[in-house]
């Protein structure tokens, strides 16, 4: 790089020497003040040009020239007429600037042409404020340093203002970082005041005057360059603007050579890690929320956030300190309240959001901004304060059918000066908002309806298939079983009644009621057993119930037996009372019966339970 720029310089000088006729009009710059700020990695040049038309014709264009090696690295250029007197910087609208033809000028000069707000007639003066930002013009020298060395960079410029016009008076001041200055080109009227280096003033210079200077100084600035930055701005009309930024960051300063020792870095960070940067500061819009900071292998836990009503500051620390030449990748994302950024005008909505990265002092070599508009947006247009490459895409995200329109803006070599607002206009009807919830609701609705239909409806393929018939039969069997069960339960209940009557007997000694109770239960039981019979026959007729019917039969038989036993017991007891035998006597007599009754009862209950389980 250095060599090539030297060649450039030579070429430039040669070209200037060979310069034939000035192809530009008779403007004269009565006063030029240039201030170059190199405290960060970006060389920011501010010029105040006082233009006087000394020719006869009125002029509507003004040419700005830069040496090619600077012009190639020009990231940002804005020219504004400054009309107010003195320091009142009431900058008006930026003038339109375009890259002009060479017009016979040598290749080593790049020319930009500025359209003046109104033609400058003879004798009129105009003051122009020019702001230009250059990247990559601070060349690290030496190009490779070890961990312990300091980071030196070199700036090449001209002490005299390179202009196609004659300059009457000019001065240059270079603001250097507050650190060591290795060397600088010395002329007679060169002054170093603190960290400010001054050249000039020079009087009455010809057009295309050029005197190269080189300043070699230590820079402690972070040379953080995003090789590629993809910002995705997703607008949701539910109240959120989600910004996701993917950074590929590299340290573009002098490359690290040799070992990296963590020990030195930790123990003596200042001399032995000065060339590295650990932090980047992102200044997010106020009310930013749900901020995250991660990379492709997970969350990065080293970040700090401060927020107040004016701004949100996010101090992010990459996973490792970045030395010269080291790269890293990370993603930051945050949500912004929609109301701060989305506005309506003339039936359209527009998103007003900043273009560049929120990270301070970061140069972006390739910036891609993707504005994802809600599904169903129409009539999309974009206004940007500077030229960008535009295109449109479709993105499919959560439950999209038609996809969301994406406006893609691309720009190379972006500096913080580009952090201006862009406007994306589109039409969107609020009804579209409801489409996705409705879709979800109907989706789940259909799902549940299908489930309901599936469980309720009979969807067997053939009504005569054996499995279907078997199922029907089985249902019948189960129904019959239930009936049987209920009848047996009833029987058991009547048995209980019988027992109760016996107890009453022992208390009251009323034999007649007891007998009556027996009679009634007897008839009841008979009815019940009559009811049981057809059911039993029914069960036996089914082959599928073959493994149940024996049990049921057994149940019925056992139940009968129990009935008989109970009756017998009842009779014995009643007889005993009739014969007025003692309680003990009766008890002794029925003891064996009682045992059998209990055993039977137990068996019946077991059987019932077995049937229950079916």
């Amino acid at each position: 790089m250095k060599q090539s720029s030297v060649v450039d310089l030579l070429l430039l000088l040669l070209a200037i020497a060979l310069l034939a006729t000035p192809a530009f009009s008779d403007l004269v710059l009565s006063k030029v003040e240039r201030r170059i700020d190199v405290t960060s990695q970006i060389a920011r040049v501010t010029k105040t040009l006082k233009v006087v038309n000394s020719g006869s014709e009125s002029v509507s264009e003004f040419a700005l020239t830069f040496p090619k090696f600077l012009g190639n690295n020009l990231a940002y250029l804005s020219v504004a007429p400054s009309e107010g007197k003195g320091k009142s910087k009431r900058t008006l609208v930026n003038l339109s600037v375009r890259e002009a033809d060479q017009k016979g000028l040598p290749d080593s000069i790049s020319v930009y042409s500025v359209a003046l707000p109104k033609p400058l007639s003879k004798g009129d003066t105009l003051t122009l404020e020019v702001v230009a930002a250059f990247t990559n013009v601070l060349q690290p020298f030496p190009e490779k340093i070890t961990q312990g060395e300091i980071h030196l960079v070199m700036l090449q410029e001209s002490a005299q203002y390179l202009s196609p016009y004659a300059v009457e008076s000019q001065s240059l001041s270079i603001k250097l970082p507050n650190a060591r200055i290795e060397s600088y080109t010395k002329f007679e009227n060169t002054k170093l005041q603190g960290s400010e280096l001054k050249y000039g003033p020079y009087k009455n210079l010809q057009s295309y005057s050029y005197s190269p200077i080189v300043v070699h100084f230590e820079s402690k600035a972070a040379f953080a360059v995003a090789e590629k930055l993809v910002r995705e701005i997703e607008v949701s009309h539910w109240g959120n603007v989600q910004v996701t930024e993917n950074y590929n960051v590299v340290h573009r300063g002098a490359q690290l050579k040799g070992e990296f020792s963590r020990l030195d870095f930790q123990a003596r960070p200042n001399p032995r890690g000065a060339s590295a940067f650990r932090h980047l500061l992102a200044r997010l819009p106020p009310r930013a929320h749900s901020i995250y900071y991660r990379d492709d292998i997970g969350n990065i836990s080293t970040s700090e956030m401060k927020s107040d009503s004016k701004k949100t500051e996010l101090l992010i620390e990459p996973r490792f300190p970045l030395f010269g030449g080291w790269k890293t990748f990370f993603t930051i994302g945050y949500g912004l309240p929609l109301t701060d950024f989305l506005f309506a005008s003339e039936g359209k909505r527009f998103l007003n959001i900043s273009f560049g990265s929120p990270i301070l002092d970061l140069v972006t070599e390739k910036l891609i901004v993707q504005v994802v508009l809600p599904e169903g947006s129409k009539d999309i247009s974009v206004t940007t304060p500077f030229a960008v490459k535009q295109s449109q895409e479709i993105k499919y995200s959560h439950l999209d059918i038609a996809g969301r329109p994406v406006v893609v803006l691309e720009k190379n070599n972006v500096v913080p000066d580009h952090n201006q607002h862009i406007q994306v206009y589109y039409k969107f009807s609020n009804i579209n908002l409801l489409s996705e919830p409705l879709m979800l609701i109907s989706g789940f609705f259909i799902l549940f309806i299908t489930c309901i239909i599936y469980t309720r409806a009979d969807i067997s393929i053939s009504k005569s298939s054996p499995s279907y018939l078997a199922k029907l039969q089985w249902d019948e069997v189960l129904a019959t079983l239930q009936e049987v069960q209920s009848i047996v339960q009833k029987c058991l209940a009547t048995h209980d009644k019988l027992e109760a009557s016996l107890r009453d007997l022992s208390r009251t000694g009323d034999i007649q009621t007891c007998k009556a109770a027996r009679k009634s239960t007897d008839s009841l039981l008979k009815d019940l057993s009559k009811e049981l019979k057809p059911l039993l026959g029914f069960l036996q007729s089914f082959p599928s119930a073959s493994h149940i019917s024996p049990k049921v039969e057994e149940l019925v038989v056992k139940e009968k037996e129990l009935q008989e036993k109970l009756m017998a017991k009842h009779t014995t007891v009643v007889e005993g009372y009739e014969k007025k035998s003692s309680g003990r006597d009766i008890e002794n007599r029925i003891a064996s019966q009682q045992q059998k009754i209990i055993a039977l009862r137990q068996e019946i209950e077991d059987l019932l339970e077995f049937i229950d389980e079916i």
Partner: protein
């Protein structure tokens, strides 16, 4: 875990699975089967498609694909992170089904609730633990459920499903051999105990035929499904069950006399045939070096096998036998409930309950051999405890209900009952003697007792008793209930603690609680990120194999060895390099085209599982292949130490040097916080390696091999460099291996 840490994939193997899933989602299924991975096992490479169990990756890939086709843009990572928790829910459901088949839905619910919390399974099912086991445990339980279901219903439909579930299990995890050995064992048990039934046949035969065919479809299993010894048991039982089925059939059509004759005839011929077949089989199997058993299976059968012959298997902490506290840690109170569950399973013993008993017995044995198989034990323990708990609750709540009902009837009744039941044991025995002809079961004897004690007791009360077995006194059952609930509460507390503290740490991000809040150690990702962004994409990184998967997945760099320890020699080469002195190591690494060496060092912050602590395994594994590395050279009187007493071989090994390079300058003494001692050799220089990166807490240190021209110059000025480099080369001279 996601809340405490972040949505991140855990540990080592999950990173590999994650990488495979990424590949799958990017390139599709056909590319996946043909994937030859050249970024690992350099220079050999690895055929991923043919050597992984694809179940997990395919599952996650399908989920991802399904979500994305619905336009729900989840990243592959998110899907991978949450696969395990989702499947643990399925596993819980499967447990419910299985236990329900065995002991009813009450036990099923209890078992599912227990499984949902059991620490052992939580360790594998936390979000981010994207490992084979995550889906395999579900597949395992579900296969068992379908087996039991088939056994209970005799439905061919379930039998087919069973084979499919088995197929899924084979896809998912090498542990499928557990199924294919456990089920035949159960079948055999059923046959031997005379429980053979057509249902058993339907449950087993289709599983073996279909299952084996399907298993052979999985590339990693392939013909192993019929060739290795792990599967022979199933075939043997398959033959037996056919013989038994035939015998039952013949028995059905022949008269008893004819049958006897036929049996003697068949048995005599059969014996001869069997003998020949077995002889052939044995000869075949014996001709293969390990007798057809894979190393891990062998170490299962013989717990000492691995430590004797294959240090690489023994070196994995997961393959060590567990300690007693780890049982308590992993299954907690379940350990006490399991015996109760087993008893409950025996009354009454059904096919299904005999299966779970067999399952728990086998898994207890296996978990005793390998910590990792604790995972197989956990569901079994949950099922058993679920059964035990639900039975206990049944009894207690039942008796309370009865008591309350009885007391509302008549107060003396309740009193009576409490008095009779104060000594339930006596009652039971008395009842038994009294009613010898009764058909077992306490309840009958209970009833006998009732009658015998109070013959004139009111029948209404007796009806209420029904066959409530052990009617316990009210107070006792309430206290027991409370105790059970407390037990459950302790279990829950323990599980929550284990889930929060012990098992949810992703191991690549460490945290420590300090006075000023949580301190995060994110060194691994720091250095992997450094590797991935600041080295050439084709650079090779050598590290101990533990970090292989992570390096390929997170740093996307080629590694020499990784966690798929398929090539012992290769690992031994790296182990040898790590345990050799610098120069020899440099030569080994250079021959492998290695550019960076990664070591993990915990001495600064006290991270115990670092490379110095693993170093002996490197020596052992290296020494197993390259005999010039001798373990004894690294031990002083049988003790592994790194302080001034350490052997010169140890102090000159590459691992020692890379770990402690310039370590002494941190505190002036070189105090190692893991080993709690000052290091032996403090000041030395590296001649063939240079430090290129060390992470914030020094946990990961990366070194670059110096280019060979340095070596040549060094050779030319051999004498000079020798004298100048001082201590290190002098002691290196003493080392016989230089």
């Amino acid at each position: 875990m996601v809340i405490k840490y972040e949505s991140v994939i855990h540990e080592f193997d999950p990173y590999f699975n994650y990488r495979v899933t990424q590949f799958l989602s990017k390139n599709g299924i056909y590319e996946f089967w043909n994937w030859f991975d050249d970024r690992t096992w350099y220079p050999l490479g690895r055929v991923i498609g043919g050597t992984v169990y694809p179940g997990l990756t395919l599952t996650a890939g399908t989920i991802w694909w399904g979500l994305n086709s619905l336009n729900i843009p989840l990243s592959v990572e998110t899907v991978c992170v949450f696969t395990a928790p989702v499947f643990s829910a399925f596993a819980s459901w499967a447990t419910y089904l299985l236990t329900k088949e065995v002991k009813g839905s009450g036990a099923g619910l209890a078992a599912a609730a227990l499984l949902a919390m059991v620490p052992s399974y939580i360790s594998r099912s936390v979000a981010g633990s994207y490992d084979n086991e995550a889906v395999a445990i579900f597949a395992l339980i579900f296969t068992f459920y379908l087996y039991i279901k088939t056994l209970n219903t005799g439905s061919l439909f379930y039998a087919t499903l069973n084979a499919l579930a088995y197929f899924y299990m084979v896809c998912s995890w090498g542990g499928y051999t557990f199924i294919i050995n456990l089920i035949p064992m159960h079948v055999l048990l059923c046959i031997v105990t005379g429980r053979y039934s057509p249902r058993l046949y339907i449950a087993y035969a289709p599983l073996v035929v279909l299952g084996t065919l399907l298993a052979a479809l999985v590339p990693v299993v392939g013909f192993n499904a019929v060739l290795t010894s792990e599967h022979f048991a199933s075939f043997l039982v398959f033959i037996i069950i056919h013989v038994v089925a035939l015998v039952y059939y013949i028995k059905g059509i022949l008269s008893p006399k004819m049958f006897k004759v036929a049996v003697t005839l068949v048995v005599s011929i059969g014996m001869v045939v069997c003998f020949i077949v077995v002889a052939i089989l044995v000869a075949l199997v014996a001709s293969s070096p390990t007798g057809g058993w894979s190393g891990r299976s062998l170490s299962l059968l013989d717990p000492t096998y691995a430590s004797k012959y294959i240090p690489i298997i023994a070196s994995v902490s997961e393959h060590q036998p567990p300690t007693w506290p780890s049982y308590f840690m992993d299954i907690n109170v379940l350990a006490f409930l399991v015996p109760a569950g087993i008893i409950a399973c025996f009354s009454p013993l059904s096919d299904a309950s005999s299966f779970v008993v067999l399952y728990i017995v086998m898994s207890v044995y296996f978990s005793g051999v390998m910590v990792r198989l604790m995972l197989v034990l956990a569901p079994a323990a949950c099922i058993m405890s679920g059964i035990a708990l639900s039975q206990a609750f049944d009894v207690f709540t039942g008796s309370i209900k009865y008591q309350l009902g009885a007391s509302s009837n008549s107060t003396d009744d309740a009193e009576d009952n409490t008095s009779t039941n104060n000594a339930p044991k006596d009652d039971v025995s008395a009842g038994k003697t009294d009613k010898g002809e009764e058909i077992v079961k306490e309840r009958s004897s209970k009833k006998g007792k009732k009658k015998e004690r109070e013959p004139a007791d009111k029948p209404s009360v007796k009806a209420k008793i029904k066959k409530k077995a052990l009617v316990l006194p009210l107070e006792a059952s309430i206290v027991a209930l409370l105790l059970l609930i407390m037990l459950g509460a302790f279990y829950v507390i323990h599980c929550v603690w284990a889930a929060a503290e012990a098992y949810s740490a992703p191991s690549i991000v460490l945290t420590s609680q300090s006075r000023d809040g949580l301190h995060v150690f994110d060194d691994f990702r720091e250095s992997y990120a450094w590797l991935s962004h600041n080295t050439d994409v084709d650079d090779k990184v050598a590290s101990w194999w533990d970090y292989g998967y992570q390096t390929t997945a997170m740093a996307n760099r080629t590694v020499i060895v990784d966690n798929n320890t398929w090539n012992n020699t290769h690992i031994a080469t790296v182990g040898t390099a790590m345990s050799s002195p610098e120069k020899a190591a440099w030569e080994i690494f250079n021959s492998l085209d290695v550019k960076y060496v990664l070591v993990v060092f915990g001495g600064l912050i006290g991270y115990p599982s670092d490379d110095i602590n693993k170093f002996l395994w490197m020596v052992r594994i290296g020494g197993g292949v390259f005999p010039h590395i001798k373990e004894a050279d690294y031990l002083r009187d049988g003790q592994y130490r790194i302080d001034s007493e350490a052997t010169p071989t140890m102090l000159n090994s590459l691992m020692y040097k890379l770990s402690y390079y310039r370590f002494v300058e941190t505190d002036g003494k070189g105090y190692d916080r893991v080993r709690r001692t000052e290091i032996g050799k403090k000041h030395f220089k590296l001649t063939h390696f240079e430090e290129v990166f060390t992470s914030h807490h020094w946990m990961v240190r990366l070194y670059k091999l110096k280019p060979p021209r340095n070596r040549i110059r060094g050779k030319a000025k051999k004498l000079k460099s020798k004298t100048s480099s001082g201590l290190s080369s002098k002691s290196a001279k003493k080392n016989p291996w230089v």
